[in-house]
Amino acid sequence: MNLRGYLKLAQAPFQMRLAYRTAVLLDCLGVILRIYLLKVFWTAVYGGGGAVEGINLPMMVTYATLASIQGIVTTSYVHWGMQRRVRDGSIVIDLIRPYGFLRSLLASSVGNSFLADGPVAVFALAVSLLFINLQPPASLAAGLAYLASLILAIAVGFFLYVLVGLVAFWTLELFGFNNIFEFLSLFLSGGLIPLWFLPPWVRRIAELLPFQSLAHLPLSIYIGKIEGAAIWMALLKQVAWIGVLSAIVWLIWKAAERKVIVQGG
């Protein structure tokens, strides 16, 4: 299949969102309320005190706000679609269609993040600015590096969720597995609590896993906790994880292709 076909796949999520406008608006409102709660929470926790671990209150509020906003684009639902296709058997159609299954997932995920979720995230950010005093990035370089790191984060997220989705080829059921995954990802990505506030042993585990690429690395670059040459190191880490995860996804996909169980077929 040529590029045009993949572009069509990438447009589909945007059209879906248009069809469910009220639902999107309500979800958006949920994120905005959450951002407000986090601001109030961290303000109460800091209680007029100074910086903790080099993070003062405005930095922390900025961190929490951006974490919630970028969570809209880094979170993928690609695995639920995979589960459905394996369960109802439509995966077979995907396999005989003239496109690569993984590439088609990538196309619709890119469309989802940039065309469908992107505008929602920008809207949520714009509304949040009404009550959040968002700090600018630590420097111009930090701002640019943040954007690069965010795009890498979206890629890491995509491969992680595809990995979860591949489990469905063996279990047909993702419910429990996805739960454990979400729980780990929430805490080890730094998206909920910055990793610096967690006990050292949790931080050491987080260092070894890909989750910190989703939130901790881009956000640390933005607020200037990671600076100078360390920025390159952080971006390199994300690129390395994309390499490792895509290799694992490809290997498991090769096994899954041979293993397709079709229910009721």
Binding site: L37, A44, F183
Partner: protein
């Protein structure tokens, strides 16, 4: 129905023309059937219990990890915030165990299944709550009880019989508050299709998140909302000021610390009346 199997009494409760004993037997049988059908898929059931645990643990771990580092928020210690969290979870656990099914209202109405409910000679709301009864809420309530034991140790509470009696009333009141909010918002499905999502947004935000913290961290507007409009403050914060012996700090009035059961009953009466209005407006789906 006049045969001997359906003994008649008057219908003041709207529970059909049945005697109380017969009503209870029917309820028991329907719920048992629900539990049995859930147990057919045992792994699925266990997963849902675990999910309930994980969902609640997420916010607990968040609070614990942050307050272990910062020690307190707005004059409330880690243990006191944990106690507020526990009160909310106990009420929420009761709601999940008993009334979780009110959330099926919007689905029943949108898919037209509600017709069947109206045809049966039993209170429609009661039917919805018990019909596909799911005991997975035992996970929420179980975690709540564990937290209760732990936090009582941490705060060195000595639970006297009157205190326990009041705690049970607070749990019942809090449970009614969450039930009523879901009922009120899901009843909107008789007017708009997005009612289920709206209910989830409002309760998911206020009960699952905002009610976990002391009310005095919020601005005046939110304090007003969480006291008078979406009164989740009564699920956790207000009674907590009484148990923690901090009624001198209670917002608005120290009396509010005692009001949870009353608020629960009044809100339920309101929600139930609104539900009746909604039912009377119901028209089945076209297909």
């Amino acid at each position: 129905m006049t045969n001997d199997q359906f003994p008649m009494t008057n219908d003041r409760l709207g529970f059909g023309h049945w005697s109380l004993g017969f009503l209870l037997r029917v309820l028991g049988l329907v719920m048992l059937a629900g539990i049995k059908s859930r147990m057919e898929y045992r792994l699925d059931f266990i997963l849902r219990v675990v999910m309930a645990l994980v969902w609640n643990l997420t916010s607990l771990v968040f609070i614990w990890a942050v307050l272990a580092r910062f020690r307190s928020m707005a004059g409330w210690s880690l243990e006191e915030v944990f106690f507020i969290y526990t009160l909310r979870l106990l009420a929420h656990g009761c709601y999940c165990l008993l009334f979780h099914n009110v959330q099926v209202i919007s689905r029943y109405v949108r898919w037209g299944d509600f017709d069947r409910v109206l045809l049966r000679p039993l209170n429609p709301l009661l039917q919805l709550v018990i019909w596909e009864y799911d005991p997975a809420g035992i996970g929420d309530l179980g975690l709540g009880l564990i937290c209760f034991v732990v936090v009582s140790r941490l705060l060195e509470f000595h639970w006297t019989p009157p205190a326990i009696a009041f705690l049970l009333l607070v749990m019942a009141g809090g449970c009614l508050i969450e039930l009523s909010l879901f009922l009120l918002l899901n009843t909107l499905v008789f007017w708009t299709t997005e009612a289920g999502r709206l209910a989830w947004l409002v309760v998911g935000t206020f009960s699952d998140q905002f009610a976990l913290y002391p009310l005095d961290i919020y601005n005046a507007l939110l304090q007003f909302v969480m006291t008078f409009l979406v009164p989740v403050g009564f699920m956790s914060y207000y009674p907590a000021t009484l148990f923690l012996d901090r009624t001198e700090d209670t917002l608005f009035s120290p009396i509010f610390a005692y009001l949870t059961p009353v608020v629960g009953l009044v809100l339920f009466a309101l929600a139930y009346s609104f539900w009746q209005v909604g039912i009377n407006r119901y028209q089945s789906t076209g297909s």
